[in-house]
């Protein structure tokens, strides 16, 4: 069943769709992982008052942030200060443009999808730097500088991990990658398809670790080290701007989880089911959502358990361990691809 819609109707649908696609995972992450999983791991219940079992807590928090006073530090650079949160959130939204949700349910079918995604994920670094500098606060500046170094350092392992997937799939197109995983075969057996998490396991692990760092989550959260920098580059933000950073953090987590699910776990496809049926357009998003939740579970589980690495240890880890492993992964993938 295809819908014939006027262009303007389609546009509205797309805007609504991307808003839901970004905010729904973000909100779910905040509730399930931040409020409940973290609380249960720490022997406490978490928010229970707002709504049944505290499910409306996020809405309550949104309302609280919206009604706060708009404060600027006196010496802050006004324009940059205002712009920084929007940059971060924009990059999260833009990543969803190329993530496929079903055989036909996608926003843009770009042949350079993977490339765009990796480029867009770097845009948030600019937002962080802007926030750190414009806050006119030494702690924020230090947080911003640390963040810049960290985010740039961990871009490389992420890119290199994805290169392995691209070699296997022979395309940069996200939809094609999903289809290759669904319809592919591992050494002749086509039952499970060819989810790249099996063949590219090393790449998957490297990608997850790099994602943890890109999101500045513990153990890589030096830029927002609470006990030292009091949330680093976000210290001077309150009210709506802080809410945007907050949503941006979880929306980016959702975005990276979506990318991981698409590239490694087979996206919206389910094994043993055909990948071009029309009803997959409705089931696909749900499947993708559940895979996103799984990846996010791994990310947040690490977050609540590990202490944080020091900045130089963090950099050493990226440059001396992750990048060589990712490079080795590429070499091995290439050899195997040519051999088989």
């Amino acid at each position: 069943m295809t819908l014939a819609l006027a262009y303007w109707q389609e546009s509205i649908l797309r805007v609504l769709g991307v808003t839901v696609a970004v905010l729904l995972p973000a909100g779910t992450f905040v509730y399930v992982f931040l409020f409940k999983l973290m609380s249960f791991m720490q022997s406490r219940l978490g928010p229970m008052e707002a709504g049944p079992y505290g499910s409306m807590q996020l809405l309550a928090e949104v309302g609280k942030f919206l009604q706060k006073e708009d404060i600027f530090p006196e010496k802050a650079d006004r324009a940059l200060f205002r712009l920084a949160p929007y940059v971060v959130v924009a990059s999260a939204f833009l990543v969803y443009v190329v993530v496929p949700f079903g055989p036909d349910a996608l926003f843009a079918d770009l042949d350079t999808g993977v490339f765009l995604v990796l480029a867009l994920s770097s845009v948030s670094v600019l937002g962080v730097l802007m926030a750190g500098w414009a806050s006119a606060n030494k702690y924020s500046l230090m947080g911003g500088l640390r963040a810049a170094g960290q985010l740039i350092a961990y871009e490389l392992p992420m890119v290199l991990a994805v290169v392995g997937v691209v070699i296997q799939a022979e395309t940069l197109n996200m939809q094609q990658i999903v289809l290759t995983q669904n319809d592919g075969e591992i050494f002749g057996w086509g039952g499970l398809g060819n989810p790249f998490v099996l063949t590219q396991f090393v790449g998957f692990v490297v990608f997850l670790v790099a994602t943890q760092a890109e999101l500045t989550q513990p153990p890589f959260d030096m830029p927002v080290a609470e006990s030292e920098l009091v949330t680093g580059y976000m210290t001077e933000y309150s009210g709506l701007r802080f809410l945007l950073f907050f949503i941006g953090e979880f929306a980016t987590a959702g975005a990276f989880a979506a990318i991981a699910a698409t590239l490694f776990l087979g996206g919206w496809g389910i094994p043993f089911f055909p990948s071009d049926a029309d009803w997959m357009n409705l089931v696909g998003p749900l499947v993708l959502f559940s895979k996103i939740m799984f990846v996010a579970l791994l990310i947040f589980w690490f977050r609540f358990t590990y202490p944080r690495l020091r900045e130089d240890q963090l950099q050493q880890f990226a440059w001396k361990y992750l990048i060589p492993i990712a490079l080795a992964n590429i070499v091995v993938t290439g050899i195997l691809k040519v051999a088989f």
Partner: protein
């Protein structure tokens, strides 16, 4: 040199020091204020650091934000009133604050508490050690980023605080010790509850050992950081786990004869030769575990009898001077009590452990990175009330 010149000189030096630290952004290096409001400092401690990039070139703690003037206040109070006051010096291990003062007064009065009181004092002393240090361990993990461990610390401390409340009436400020013994005897069923609670604390220690100390990132953050060699530690008067973490085998519970019950049970003193942050925290963990064993043994062998010796209603301590120090949770805490035969002390010098522990900060923080500042402070483990009195 006459007094006036010296005062002027000192005022000039102080103004210069203030001017140094008030410069906002210098060309070489940045001066950063850690505190007084800051999640990492356990209270209102301000540390001024001058940074070169991320390295500290010069650090100085500024204390006194919580100075309450205890040594002046006790001069107008009677001995039982002083007891209430000194509970609040180290507020996490509060029963332990009272004990050296009471023992000093008893030494001057030449009386000794009955055996049952000595045992119960020791049990409550070790319970305050457990509640203080277990929080310190969870807090150290929190400073390093592992938020979960701090919640476990609070959860498991509750068992000990409930015990203290059941026996003394106060979770944090028991005010239970009296010159000559204790205020009351233990309630019924307390011994059994204590045994259960000690088992839970031991489980907590094991949990922290695997979750925190076994973590590679924790080790990478604490090993080799903030090494304090033995000689420096002795010169600065570091005590407690800080000294034993530098390899000095000295524990005031074992190494002096006091009318308390530590020599009536079997326990071990833990030391670590490295002198870095990991060793200090590790010694604290082992001491907490050991304290539970001490409490168990003393509960088993608690003698019966009165808990209060015969003392007059109005306590007048005879003229003299006495110094008693004990191995408090934070280190060596002692009181030098000068009495003129009155109902209250003439002068009390409070030697608190954290004062010496933090005086080493300018020495140890040179050349470390900013994140390591937090690690070192967490491993030295101080309480503001103890530094500032």
């Amino acid at each position: 040199m006459s007094v006036i010149d010296r005062r002027e000189l000192s005022a000039l030096a102080a103004r210069a020091a203030d001017a140094r630290v008030n410069v906002e952004l210098e060309t070489e290096g940045m001066t950063l204020n850690i505190g007084p409001q800051h999640p990492a400092t356990h209270g209102t401690l301000r540390i001024i650091v001058r940074l070169d990039g991320e390295q500290v070139v010069w650090a100085e703690p500024v204390c006194g934000y919580m100075h309450r003037g205890y040594e002046k206040l006790v001069e107008v109070r009677s001995y039982p009133q002083v007891n209430t006051l000194i509970n609040r010096i180290d507020w996490l291990g509060s029963f332990a604050n009272e004990v050296p003062f009471i023992l000093a007064c008893e030494q001057l009065m030449e009386i000794e508490a009955p055996p049952r009181a000595q045992y119960i004092r020791t049990i409550l002393f070790e319970l305050s050690r457990i509640s203080n240090v277990s929080l310190g361990l969870g807090d150290a993990a929190l400073q390093l980023g592992a938020q979960t461990a701090a919640f476990y610390a609070f959860r498991d401390r509750e068992y000990v605080l409930n015990l203290v409340e059941a026996a003394t009436g106060g979770r944090f400020h028991p005010n239970f010790d009296r010159i000559g013994g204790l205020k009351d005897d233990l309630p019924k069923g307390w011994i059994d509850e204590t045994k259960v609670a000690m088992r839970k604390v031991r489980d907590y220690c094991d949990e922290i050992e695997t979750l925190v100390f076994g973590n590679e990132i924790f080790e990478a953050r604490t090993r080799g950081i903030g090494v304090i060699p033995r000689e420096v530690a002795l010169q600065y008067g570091l005590s407690g786990a800080n000294l034993r973490g530098s390899g000095v085998d000295w524990d005031l519970r074992r190494d002096q004869k006091l009318p308390m019950a530590w020599d009536k049970c079997d326990w071990k003193v833990w030391t670590h030769p490295d002198g870095d942050s990991f060793s200090r925290l590790w010694v604290r963990l082992k001491e907490t575990y050991e304290a539970t064993l001490i409490v168990d043994q003393l509960c088993e062998s608690l003698p019966s009898g009165p808990v209060m010796a015969k003392v007059p209603r109005i306590i007048k301590v005879p003229e003299g001077e006495a110094w008693i120090s004990t191995e408090n949770p934070l280190g060596e805490m002692g009181y030098y009590v000068v009495s003129k035969g009155d109902t209250g002390p003439f002068r009390v010098k409070i030697r608190s452990a954290s004062f010496n522990n933090i005086s080493v900060v300018p020495w140890v923080l040179r050349g470390v990175y900013v994140p390591d500042v937090i690690t070192i402070l967490a491993s030295l483990y101080f309480i503001l009330g103890d530094i500032d009195r």
